[in-house]
Symmetry: C2
């Protein structure tokens, strides 16, 4: 027995959020209605604006409502000529949070996956090739995920860089900081041994 | 370094949902932008409509966009003359899910709490009193939460019912089904002993 159609539509709508099932959706809907209608209205406005207006940066393909994103337009980010290639905009957020990197990015929005029909042009490699050709890029840092697809994608882009005589590097893989050696998996540990470096 | 102001507003907006922190908000925002923009637009519309149009039923005070909710207008729900008093609309959803109850409801939208300045009229007891006076109500089932405030509220409404010579009952408290006796807390167990009933 329904008491409100709008309420049911709201609960149904909330379920499109990842990790939200029927129970959480109900809790969220009642919370907003009972305690935070103003927040709900603001969320509706933010959602509507974001879904319709956010597109991709014409240079690095990350999410932005501008033609070119704030990082690409910042002249101080292009000083060192570095371009970091990542799989998703969330990776940019993670790298920015470290404060360790001050160059620009290039977002693939995925990875090469021939079995799923995802080829180089689907992940914007034609645009990257154009940039390698025309821009002053000193080094491409390959920060794709350490998965089979991510490694293959990094390898492919590395070959592309070699073609245009641009230096390419891969982020280091090894034992994560703060972990215990005996708990680290074998693949990671062998990477950390193969990738060892001399003490200064 | 921000790449999109709308994206940040969206992540900020999502944090008004209960149980959503900065990490979940980011994950939700990227999920919608990358995989389900249509769902995001629908959610925005549902939210906006729900926040502005949903009010309270003039008879039972539950959430509805109509003047009187679907349960109160259904003549079959008033046949048995039962009215179940609950603290929140979520309680109605829980009771409806059991399929065990076919009467009407009355939603307090809270409980008596003199220390917080919440008196009888704040939880709609003037409206309930009006209904006790004018309607044919055979029994009021008190289904407030088994907390100190919920018990006090149930007691208060019980007295109100006695005044208007309407029968009042309290839902049973005891050992939950499927649980193990040794894991049940002492208060619940003593309730289940005091509230024991003869085998038929």
């Amino acid at each position: 027995m329904r008491t409100s159609q709008l309420l049911e539509q709201l609960m149904e709508g909330l379920r499109c959020l990842p990790g939200v099932g029927p129970k959480s959706a109900q809790r969220m809907a009642f919370h907003l209605l009972q305690r935070n209608r103003q927040g709900g209205v603001q969320l509706a406005e933010a959602l509507s604006a974001a879904m319709t207006e956010i597109g991709h940066c014409s240079q690095c393909r990350t999410f932005t409502e501008e033609d070119v994103c704030g990082i690409c337009t910042n002249p101080r980010r292009s000083e060192n000529g570095l371009v970091c290639v990542v799989e998703s905009p969330a990776d940019i957020a993670a790298i920015e949070a470290t404060g360790q990197y001050s160059g620009r990015y290039f977002v693939l929005m995925g990875h090469l996956s021939p079995l799923d029909g995802i080829g180089p042009s689907d992940i914007g490699l034609d645009l990257l090739e154009q940039r390698l050709k025309t821009e002053q890029i000193s080094e491409v840092i390959l920060a794709t995920n350490p998965t089979v697809e991510g490694e293959a994608t990094a390898h492919y882009i590395g070959e592309l860089c070699r073609e245009y005589e641009v230096e390419a590097s891969r982020i280091a893989h090894g034992v994560p900081m703060g972990g215990e050696l005996e708990l680290v998996d074998g693949t990671t540990l062998s990477h950390s041994i193969v990738g060892r470096h001399k003490l200064a």
